[in-house]
């Protein structure tokens, strides 16, 4: 037993020495066992390492909720069954925040004290109004301002809903009979020509649609803002005018369409996308009287038609609504 034990210990030491030092021991069996090692193809080894590193990246990026399940041949990642909040839920939350913020902003703009709207909204007793104030006028103004607020909030809600439902088409997010309402996506200054690019169609319940709204952006082409129009407001007839004269404004320059040209390598003129030079709005007091626009073809001086007649584009389609190339004569090209 002791002899066996001693022999085993010697053999184990011999094995250890052969494997760690790599020197032949003189024992043919041990030397052959330790010195005959299968070697993998280097290409296989490198290729496998690359594949493993790729899998390691996937496994690393998997969260505990998304466990990576790998087999010898395939790798699949479980799709989480629990989904996050839907886009409509998010849209509703955004809408709520927008309405609250809008209300707060609007409220902070109302100066405290004798302002009629302040008393109407925040419940200040009517007895607090300054002596001499016209009560009927105050009530009327307060009602108008409340309507304005309601309109603004509704516009914000409708726009946010429509955007959340479908950003491309701005289709309604709720079912039921709805009517299209054109709103502006940005502020429009008094006397500014309505920019068709800054319009969007939203869908409103009929009972809250203000009177005189537009349902088609094309109907607004060539109209001017009668006053300041905030972003996301519905555009109504009362807020727009067909000419600047109607709103006591005039323009210094007629909007023109400048067909930009370029010359190609062989000298031909190439027409590029037309550029619309917007009219400059100037207060009437700053302008001479003769600076009003001149009609092109004897028609009444309608600002709606002036830029369109001066344009090479069809008169009913604004430049922003079309990408049709405009035919233009070439110059300097090779003939026949």
């Amino acid at each position: 037993m002791n002899e066996n034990h001693t022999h085993d210990k010697a053999l184990l030491r011999e094995i250890e020495r052969r494997l760690t030092e790599g020197r032949p021991t003189g024992d043919p069996l041990l030397d052959e066992l330790a010195g005959t090692l299968p070697r993998a193809d280097a290409g296989f080894q490198a290729d496998l390492e690359q594949r493993l590193l790729a899998r390691l990246d996937i496994a690393k990026s998997s969260t505990p909720e998304e466990p990576a399940r790998m087999t010898a041949n395939t790798l699949s990642i479980d799709t989480p069954t629990r989904r996050g909040p839907s886009s409509l839920t998010m849209a509703a939350a955004v809408m709520a925040v927008l309405v609250i913020v809008g209300l707060l902003v609007f409220m902070t703009r109302i100066p405290a004290g004798p302002e009629p709207f302040a008393s109407g909204i925040i419940g200040i007793d009517q007895d607090d109004t300054p002596p001499g104030a016209d009560e009927s006028l105050l009530q009327e103004t307060a009602t108008e301002t409340q309507d304005e607020l309601l309109l603004q909030a509704t516009a914000v809600i409708a726009t946010a809903t429509a955007r959340a439902a479908d950003e491309d088409t701005l289709m309604p997010a709720i079912s039921g009979p709805l009517v299209p309402v054109v709103i502006t996506l940005g502020e429009i200054l008094p006397g500014q020509l309505v920019d068709a690019d800054a319009l969007a169609v939203t869908w409103w319940p009929p009972e809250i649609v203000p009177a005189g709204v537009y349902g088609d952006p094309h109907d607004l082409i060539g109209l001017y803002a009668a006053g300041f129009i905030a972003a996301y407001q519905p555009l109504t007839e009362s807020r727009l005018a067909e000419s600047l004269e109607d709103i006591g404004r005039t323009i210094l320059l007629t909007p023109t369409v400048v067909p930009p040209t370029d010359v190609d390598a062989i000298g031909r003129t190439i027409l590029l996308t037309p550029t619309v030079v917007p009219p400059t709005v100037v207060p009437p007091e700053a302008l001479p009287v003769q600076a009003t626009p001149t009609p092109v073809s004897g028609d009444p001086p309608s600002p709606r038609r002036i830029p369109l007649q001066a344009s090479p584009l069809p008169p009913t389609i604004p430049p922003s609504f079309t990408s049709t190339p405009v035919p233009t004569p070439t110059t300097g090209g090779p003939s026949g």
Binding site: I15, L33, P38, A59
Partner: protein, 206 residues
């Protein structure tokens, strides 16, 4: 020369390899030759050895993130337990007797033995050794291949096979004795084939 990792190196590899490609590269470079050699001795043909080695490393990548280092040799034991299980599954999947192998199917062999030998001779030696090892009991086959081709120490083999370290040592010694007996029978003494051939050549020349 077989290199071994210190306990610090092994722990660092275990911790960093799941998240650090450089650490994984070191782990791969350290274990790939040993895994491949062990698997090749156990299964034989190079294509099978490559498939199994790939499966082993896929399992390693899969489990590295969850592996907890628990002392010296833990990483090596874990990796070779995966390899051992894959070999066991390979033989379970394979139905029927193994087909006779041609030398072309065998993997290339690396040799540090003195004396001239070409690739073909090394492959013949590899196949002969495989045949000898195959005569042992399955337990001793496993221990001998893990020790000589996987490069595991006895306590690591004990971890892999869930045996006592002394049992591993005993199986290893008894297995080598059996091998030596058969080896001597085959070679006509304790002289390797290549050496015997060269001796005969020298005798003929003298």
């Amino acid at each position: 020369v077989r290199t071994t990792l210190t306990i610090q190196e092994e722990r660092l590899l275990a911790e960093r390899a799941p998240v650090d490609p450089a650490a994984f590269h070191q782990l791969y470079q350290h274990y790939f030759p040993r895994i491949y050699a062990y698997v090749a001795y156990r299964v034989g043909p190079a294509p099978d050895a490559e498939d199994l080695t790939a499966e082993v490393f896929v399992k390693i990548v899969e489990g590295l993130g969850r592996f907890e280092y628990r002392g010296e040799g833990a990483l090596t034991a874990w990796i070779f337990r995966i390899a051992h299980n894959q070999v066991v599954q390979f033989y379970r999947r394979r139905s029927g007797a193994a087909l006779p192998l041609s030398l072309d199917d065998l993997p290339d062999i690396e040799s540090d033995l003195p004396g001239p030998d070409d690739a073909l001779q090394r492959k013949e030696r590899f196949e002969r050794l495989r045949g000898l090892i195959g005569t042992l009991s399955s337990r001793r086959q496993e221990i001998v291949t893990l020790r000589f081709f996987g490069g595991l120490r006895n306590h690591e083999i004990a971890h892999v096979l869930e045996l006592d370290e002394r049992t591993v040592a005993s199986h290893l010694c008894r297995g080598l004795e059996d091998l030596r007996s058969r080896y001597d029978d085959e070679t006509g003494g304790a002289v390797p084939t290549e050496k015997r051939d060269s001796d005969r050549e020298q005798e003929r020349q003298s």
